[in-house]
């Protein structure tokens, strides 16, 4: 289907902006999107993670037919959030990831979206807007390019993301954030 190519190409060709990757908050960084992983998800008809990346990391409704006009979604963009609006950032995910024994070169951006899009098996549109339940945050993970090149066009690749439960004592941070990440950057 041509739509597939459009949805995935649009996703993977984006350069994401994020602020404050390193210790200085406010620095603009650009990331690539994980192309092959998005392709694999789509090949398995796994649309939900792709819809979440569109609506929470890119800050746009997934570009599928009628998404902006379907009554359930209007206003389609209101309440969406993008990576650049992350309110916290951690470095090190305390788990092995390929050559990185402890995920030290992975950063986790924490976002609190009011709304996001989910897959819907519906004839009108395959993306429906959801309100994010209380107590949930979205963590977007990016692998940094090593060796680090701050002057490069991009500094890493956004690999995946997902909702996590928030810390009851600090609802803007993920539960167990102290043990789940190596350090908080901001």
């Amino acid at each position: 289907m041509e739509m597939v190519g459009y949805v995935l190409l649009g996703l993977t060709s984006r350069l994401l902006l994020s602020r404050g990757l390193l210790l200085i908050r406010g620095t603009i960084c650009r990331f690539r999107m994980s192309r092959e992983d998005a392709m694999k998800a789509a090949a398995a008809h796994r649309r939900q993670p792709i819809w979440e990346i569109w609506s929470i990391v890119l800050g746009e409704p997934p570009p599928v037919p009628n998404v902006r006009t379907w009554g359930l979604n209007v206003p389609a963009e209101e309440g969406l959030i993008a990576l650049v609006e992350a309110h916290a950032c951690f470095r090190g995910i305390c788990r092995a990831l390929a050559e990185d024994d402890n995920g030290e070169n992975v950063v986790a951006y924490i976002l609190k979206p009011r709304f996001f899009y989910g897959y819907a098996a519906n004839l009108v549109s395959t993306a429906v807007k959801h309100a994010t339940p209380e107590g949930l945050l979205f963590a977007a993970y990016a692998r940094l390019d090593i060796p680090w090149d701050a002057q490069g066009a991009t500094v890493g690749v956004v690999t995946h993301g997902g909702f996590v439960e928030s810390d009851p004592a600090n609802p803007l941070l993920p539960e167990d954030h102290a043990s789940r990440y190596t350090e908080r950057l901001w």
Partner: protein, 136 residues
């Protein structure tokens, strides 16, 4: 055209029905098994396992196993091989198949383990659950 991850990506059809399957994501170095393509919440158990809970109701519907490539690089990598990535990707089908069988066993055959996990999670959340469904 087959891509290196083993999927015919140019023939992908996003409108197709989702069936439970295990998929290895190389950039994230994790294999995911999930029963339904619905909004989920991730609950980290440890550095190897993350549970996938349905956002609505927090029912366990899958899991993620992490760090397979790291394990491969540590214990199976042949330094003399230059096409190491290709060798690893050749094993991905095995990982995905094994994970799918594991997932089906946990979530499909009797569902007892899933109910037990749900009970455990409910207990962690201090939710009241007086008895398990008879199917459990």
């Amino acid at each position: 055209m087959e891509d290196k991850m083993g999927g015919p990506t140019n023939k992908t059809d996003l409108s197709g029905r989702y069936f439970p399957v295990a998929v290895y994501y190389e950039d994230a170095d994790m294999v995911e098994y999930v029963r339904q393509d619905v909004p989920c919440v991730n609950r980290r158990i440890d550095d190897f396992l993350t549970l996938t809970l349905k956002m609505e109701g927090r029912e366990p519907i899958g899991f993620k196993l992490k760090g397979f490539k790291n394990f491969y690089l540590h214990y199976f990598k042949d330094d003399g091989q230059r096409d190491d990535r290709d060798r690893f990707l050749a094993l991905v089908n095995v990982i995905e198949k094994a994970t799918k069988l594991l997932g089906n066993k946990i979530f499909e055959e009797g569902r007892k383990a899933a109910y037990e996990q749900a009970y455990k999670i409910a207990k962690e959340d201090n939710a009241e659950l007086h008895e398990l469904p008879s199917a459990a």
